[in-house]
Symmetry: C2
Subunit: 384 residues, 2 copies
């Protein structure tokens, strides 16, 4: 239906909106204004059966986005050149069309949009069945938590650690990008819930101090101090092991890949597990055989150590999200999990913000605030 | 006790024997006469309590030996420079000293010696408790089978495939070094017992034909035709998949590593498993970062494929050997598993024979015949 129809309507929708399209595939680092380009475009007005028109409130920025921009078939089809850039958002329903799916929503509902139809926009029409109402949260938890600790980032930490890493109390776990949105949650679940010894890797004294003071890591490694020198990094790994009184690492939860992964392989314990969550160090490199990427030449250590490297994708656990979110909310309430969000203003700056994920320029979950919720809306929420 | 004592004695033991010592650690390819050196030495005469004096009959030659020669702590301590080279053998008891352990043996008993005390010699004194009598075999099965299909080689195939690979009927399995002692058994268990589609990789038309005719592979890849060209090898992988009507490989049982492993990672199915048994392509290279070794740069594919690479060491399953051997013997009797042995003559040539493992110069299990059993011995065997 068109917006002139009789369906529920609320607030004023501008005729022109800002959207960001991927106009070419990045080669190496993303170039804002060339790869990701902002433009002013008509706001969509046609909302079909079982669709909703959403206004974006918050856009999640994730390392995985760099992968979606690549023309390589993966767990999700690549973003097409010319298309609106894809992202997970928290949005508000501004039009709900007719249909059994749309009927679940009222104007004003706040939803998480998992449709993967755009996301880097102010308004979009998406299938209603891909949206889910925000569950009720403790008053102290902001809605952005549904993009961070209670969103895919937190789910990634939860399922990667618990289902792939399978930690046991007393085991030693090493986490790379430990000051990141996923890593910091992994570290806290391992430490405060499971009872592991936790060593965090991050870049720079500030992040490392935060890991010690706030996240509760037992030891930290500032990888920048090794400056890419394997022997120096080995010494750091050894020193950290000494600090936590361990022989080696039972689990390495890896978000970074490259140099850090390769050196760590030699420090795994018997039956060690590398949880391959990401490899952000290589995401901006086109040819993985290039000398910019340190390959895991030490993989042969896996044989004598009876160790493994295992990849995972969080969406495989979608049926278990609800229970995991309930569990995480409980841990948050108990003070076992703290989380940090890095909320930045303005969709137009999102390409620049995204870049900061790849150069160590942020701590905690990176989120862009795209719009304000409509005033006077009642939020309809279900219990978590 | 000395040989002049009253203990059971049989046959004539020469005063001087041939032994092969590792006189220096090889750098790159093994150099017979420099790294492994034959010498004439006095046969040991002092046999202590709970020891036995063994005469060697057959010596197993294994890729793992190259690893034992390296000064790197692994699942087994390295062979010391100057020591007799280590190996698994079938031997005959020529002196059994006093003691509860030695008392289990009679002169003439044929045993598998797992002591790891020497092996590349004609006679040796070893702890009796590390020897086990050969179990009774079907008349058609030669005793050398205890170094091949019923020895560690066969056990490696059995446990690596069944416990790490965990194959399901109908799955597609790729095996590298498929014409080797381990690979050919893996291929047959997968095909004839589990009901997998099996693609074998080997070097040269002769081995490939043997895989099709005798081992029963559904498709074969002659890796030498790709000549190290990744794109050519990718085409071969695709072609093989087409032949077996599969989308990708569920299991890759890898004995080779390097180039073949790296290219295969991109052809794994969702939740694919790489069973890391060996990496013979890299065993002769000192620095694994050298350009001679192709590293697994494609490891990032593991993430989106939710796949894993897992190493194992067969000796972890020692408590299950007996049942596995019984099972293997049954499959042999049923014609489900055939095996090939490449038995060569003479301990002095063993260093040259060992080299052939690393240049593709043999098919089937490589064994050196070191000596003849004493005549007139009754073999005491237990039931398998």
């Amino acid at each position: 239906m068109a917006l002139s129809s009789t369906s529920a309507r609320h607030g004023v929708i501008p005729a022109i909106q800002t959207v960001i399209r991927m106009m070419q595939r990045p080669v190496g680092e993303i170039v804002p204004g060339k790869d990701l380009v902002a433009s002013q475009e008509p706001t969509p007005t046609v909302v079909g059966n079982d669709q909703v028109l959403l206004q974006r409130l918050y856009l999640s920025l994730d390392p995985a986005m760099r992968g979606w921009m690549r023309d390589i078939p993966s767990y999700m089809p690549p973003v097409q050149v010319g298309a609106v850039m894809r992202g997970y958002t928290i949005s508000q329903v501004v039009v709900a069309a007719d249909g059994s799916q749309s009927g679940r929503f009222q104007v004003g509902d706040i939803v998480v949009d998992n449709s993967m139809v755009g996301g880097w926009d102010q308004y979009a029409v998406v299938p209603a069945k891909k949206c889910s109402k925000l569950p009720m949260l403790d008053n102290n938890i902001p809605m952005t938590a549904h993009l961070s600790v209670l969103g895919l980032t937190g789910m990634t930490a939860y399922f990667g650690l618990m289902k792939v890493g399978k930690p046991q109390p007393g085991e030693t776990i090493l986490v790379s990008a430990a000051a990141g949105a996923t890593g910091s949650v992994v570290a806290q679940i391992a430490k405060n819930v499971v009872g592991c010894k936790v060593v965090g890797i991050a870049g720079g004294p500030q992040k490392c101090q935060w890991l010690l003071d706030q996240v509760g890591c037992d030891a930290v490694i500032d990888y920048k101090l090794a400056n890419g020198d394997g022997r120096k990094f080995q010494k750091q790994l050894q020193q950290a092991l000494k600090q936590v009184d361990s022989k080696g690492y039972d689990i390495f939860f890896d978000n970074v890949g490259g140099f850090i992964l390769n050196e760590t392989l030699r420090r795994l314990n018997l039956r060690g597990r590398v949880v391959l969550c990401g490899a952000i160090s290589g995401y901006n490199v086109e040819d993985q055989r290039s000398t910019q990427v340190v390959p895991p030449t030490n993989y042969m250590a896996l044989i004598s150590l009876r160790a493994k490297i295992e990849g995972f994708i969080v969406t495989d656990y979608v049926r278990e999200y609800k229970e995991a979110k309930r569990q995480m909310a409980e841990w948050i309430a108990q003070g076992k999990i703290k989380y940090k969000e890095d909320v930045r203003e303005g969709l137009e700056q999102a390409p620049e913000h995204l870049k900061s994920l790849f150069n160590g320029g942020n701590t905690g979950k990176l989120i862009v605030k795209v719009g304000e919720p409509m005033t006077g809306t009642t939020m309809h929420r279900s219990k978590l």
